[in-house]
Amino acid sequence: MSTITAEARLASRATSRVGSSVRLRRYLSTIGTVVLSTAIIVWTLVPIYNMVMISLEPEGDVFTDHIFPRVWSIESFWGVLTQGHWYLEHFWHQFANSIYMGAMVTILTLVIGSLTSFSIGRMRIRYGWLVSNAALLTYVIPASFLAIPFYRIMQNYGMANNLWSVIAALVAFATPYAFFVLQEYGRSIPIEVDESARIDGASPGQIYLRIYLPLMAPALVAVGTYAMLLAWNEYLYQFLLLSSKSSMTVPVALAQFLSSDQSPWNFMMATAIIYALPPVAIYYAFRRRMTSGLTMGGVKG
């Protein structure tokens, strides 16, 4: 009897010791998670907080040492939306230019990328590998390195201050990535699908439109989002090629703010936030597709 209780006591002590070490480890791991999470949140949000804070401050309060806005005001946002400051006279026009450019880059990248990938991946055109290599080469050449000759060429063509010169450059740099993602995704669709349609008498054009595009829809969403974000993030080509009032886009106008001495920071930050809203919304809407697309094409080739 006594031996049994002694054994039981020993056993329970042992389990409690194991239990406490497990508990300790879990406790430490929770603390680690909390500390690291806090660090990540602070690190990530500081520049964004700064942007939001300044945009919510009335104009006079920007040049103070507050770290919270004293008075909250949406005056700056209202100023941007109603073009109420002399810097912002053309805001809506510039915004429309940015949207037009983003939309055109997205559509053209999708069309050209999917046609190329259909021809090379599905129809297996001879010397398709040459085109793949050209695309791969484009993917690894930094776009900014080609900016000066590209500017010269566009000047020669009389294409300066034309949105289409920037669209052309961005399509040229976005299509290779689109092509790789589509190639990679296309591999998951059996070629027999195309072959049976061919036997039934469908022309390649019909196969492309009725079979290939619908089946590729998830990859097309990923590629389209990528192209749109690329256009929205781009600055250099827009800065070089678009300087007239009629062709200017939001990034170019924002950068002009930056170089002036008396920058209206609250309006700039409000503009920056409004400009950031469309890509953030699109990114979060298509997040899952984006990530899988990135790993397919972005890294694995």
Binding site: T33, S37, T44, L45, P47, I48, N50, V62, D65, I67, I112, T116, F118, S119, I120, R124, I125, R126, Y127, V131, N133, A134, V140, I141, P142, S144, F145, L146, I148, P149, Y151, R152, I153, A168, A172, T175, F179, E184, R187, S203, L229, N233, Y235, P251, L254, A255, L258, A272, Y275, A276, P279, V280, Y283, Y284, R287, L294, T295, V299, K300, G301
Partner: protein, 303 residues
């Protein structure tokens, strides 16, 4: 007579086989379709990539340009900056991404929520956030110095008025902006490691650091290498971080090759000198491109 027949017929045979080899297995009508589908991209590539490349090579082909460039003190400091930017920017970012991707492998709703916040820097356009960082670092009214003063009563320096702190700010901004992207990629790489491998390793006692050193990292190494090389190339061509955070200042001391090229071409109106600045990166770019193209192609085949 017979020889002349042979002479006439040979080119015809050659022509036919050449056409067939171009066409591959496709029949006449289908070949036309395939060709029509691939022509738009070829046109875009030739007009907007190949032509600028050739034009650029021609613009930067004079030797005297490089003599002028190398004797320019701004160029010399630019090279130092570029090397520092690459060495620190790429490696710190990739190492953080490797560690953080492991952190984000933890289960639970909290990790998913945290990941959503964590990817914000990548989702927000560069121009917006880099302008914000630029103002944050303002010596008098910037957020950073305000915080330092309010919390610790320290008068912070004018961050962007000193070469090294300005360059540091550019590097940190780059790391801030791009770590989430590479973390997502490495996270996907980790997820692709089959569960059985991890479980077997755990049973064999490879957990924690051991598991990482012997199991996870060897499986991730190739991906990590490709990511590092790609990000080196992307960083070399990066124009926005320097332009918006430091503006190349103070006194042109924080330029990198990409921004110096544009500055030479458009601020001092010497486009050829600008192209030369960019071209001087070629000894580094070409080997990188060759290795990358080979790596990416084999990765494609392995899938």
């Amino acid at each position: 007579m017979s020889t002349s027949i042979v002479d006439v017929s040979r080119p015809a045979i050659q022509r036919r086989t050449f056409a067939r080899s171009l066409r591959g297995s496709l029949k006449g009508g289908e070949y036309t379709w395939a060709l029509a589908f691939v022509v738009p991209y070829i046109a875009v590539f030739v007009a907007f990539v190949a032509y600028p490349v050739v034009y650029g090579l021609w613009m930067g082909s004079e030797v005297s340009l490089y003599r002028e460039l190398f004797s320019d003190p701004i160029y010399q400091s630019t090279v130092v900056n570029t090397v520092l930017y690459l060495a620190l920017g790429v490696n710190i970012k990739m190492f953080l991404a490797l560690l953080l991707s492991g952190f984000f492998m933890r289960p639970g709703w909290w990790m998913k929520a945290l990941l959503l916040i964590f990817v914000l820097p990548w989702a927000v356009p560069q121009i917006s956030t880099f302008i914000s960082i630029h103002w944050m670092l303002n010596g008098e009214w910037g957020f950073l110095n305000n915080v330092l003063y309010q919390l610790f009563h320290i008068e912070g320096p004018s961050w962007l008025n000193d070469r090294w702190s300005a360059l540091g700010a550019v590097i940190v901004s780059h790391i801030w902006k791009w770590t989430p992207f590479w973390t997502l990629i490495l996270l996907a790489g980790r997820m692709a490691i089959p569960l059985e491998i991890r479980d077997t390793a755990r049973v064999d006692g490879a957990t924690g650091v051991k598991g990482f050193v012997y199991i996870t990292f060897p499986l991730l190494a190739n991906l990590y290498l490709i990511c590092t090389l790609l990000s080196t190339i992307f960083l070399l061509g990066d124009f926005n971080a320097v332009t918006f955070v430091s503006g190349g200042g103070p006194a042109n001391t924080t330029h990198v090759l990409a921004t110096l090229g544009i500055r030479n071409a458009f601020e001092i109106a010497q486009p050829r000198l600008g192209v030369a600045a960019v071209m001087s990166a070629l000894p580094m770019v070409i080997p990188l491109v060759i290795v990358l193209m080979r790596k990416l192609r084999t990765a494609e085949v392995q899938l």
